[in-house]
């Protein structure tokens, strides 16, 4: 399953809820959730730990807008909007953690 998260994990609990409830799959971080993809934050450890269970990907245009593309955690991938579309198509189902 593709899990789409769009809220900053430093501000809200939606990424935490996703990590607690989902067992596996792909997590796509978009909009303010891309702050979860970067090094040096208080949620970095939880995200790294989650890489064992999940494929984690961040949306490049949202990383660029927020000027954090140069500090993406190793092991976290990036996609553009075309890649976002591919992710939705590749997975049997998807869920937005609003």
């Amino acid at each position: 399953m593709l899990h789409i998260v769009n809220k900053s994990p430093l501000e809200r609990n939606s990424l935490a809820a996703c990590l607690r409830i989902a067992g596996s799959g792909t997590i796509l971080l978009i909009e303010d959730a891309v702050y979860g993809a970067i090094r040096g934050t208080t949620v970095e450890a939880a995200v790294k730990e989650a890489l064992v269970r999940f494929r984690i990907v961040a949306l490049q245009p949202d990383l660029d807008a927020r000027a954090v593309a140069d500090r993406v955690i190793e092991g976290v991938g990036t996609v553009d909007y075309a890649g976002f579309v591919d992710l939705v198509a590749e997975h049997r189902n998807c869920q937005s953690w609003l």
């Binding site: 399953m1 609990n13 939606s14 809820a17 607690r20 409830i21 989902a22 067992g23 799959g25 189902n93 998807c94 869920q95 937005s96 953690w97 609003l98």
Partner: protein
């Protein structure tokens, strides 16, 4: 539409009632979806569990109390209501606090249920 072609629809409720309209308007879609003979389930996670809290009295905020609608779901054949156990515990709630009968599940079992869905709607 026959049973075989029905899709699994899941409505994910993660927001508290009244602070925002998501809970109310989510319920409106659930009621409509019942008419389409799909396999519908509702899950309540995080502050979404507060939607089911017994005893809501909204006179003081001059807003409609929509919580009785959860009781009406059964009449629409919407009977699969799941609640995340960890969310209940984190809020000091038990099943006895809830306005309807639900199935309480550990988080990961809820996750497994999500994996089986065709369409997941969250508000």
């Amino acid at each position: 539409m026959t049973e075989g072609t029905a899709k699994k629809f899941m409505f994910v409720n993660r927001t508290a009632p009244y602070g925002t309209a998501y809970a109310l308007e989510s319920l409106e879609v659930v009621l409509i979806s019942a008419a389409f003979d799909q396999d519908v389930s509702l899950v309540f996670i995080d502050d979404g569990v507060f939607q089911l809290k017994k005893g809501q009295q909204t006179k003081g905020i001059e807003t409609k109390n929509f919580s009785p609608t959860y009781r009406a779901l059964e009449g629409y054949d919407v009977e699969k209501l799941y609640v995340d156990q960890e969310s209940l515990v984190a809020r000091g709630l038990t099943e006895a606090d809830l306005i309807v009968d639900v199935t309480v599940l550990p988080s990961r079992e809820l996750g497994a249920l999500m994996d089986e869905q065709d369409v997941v709607l969250s508000f």
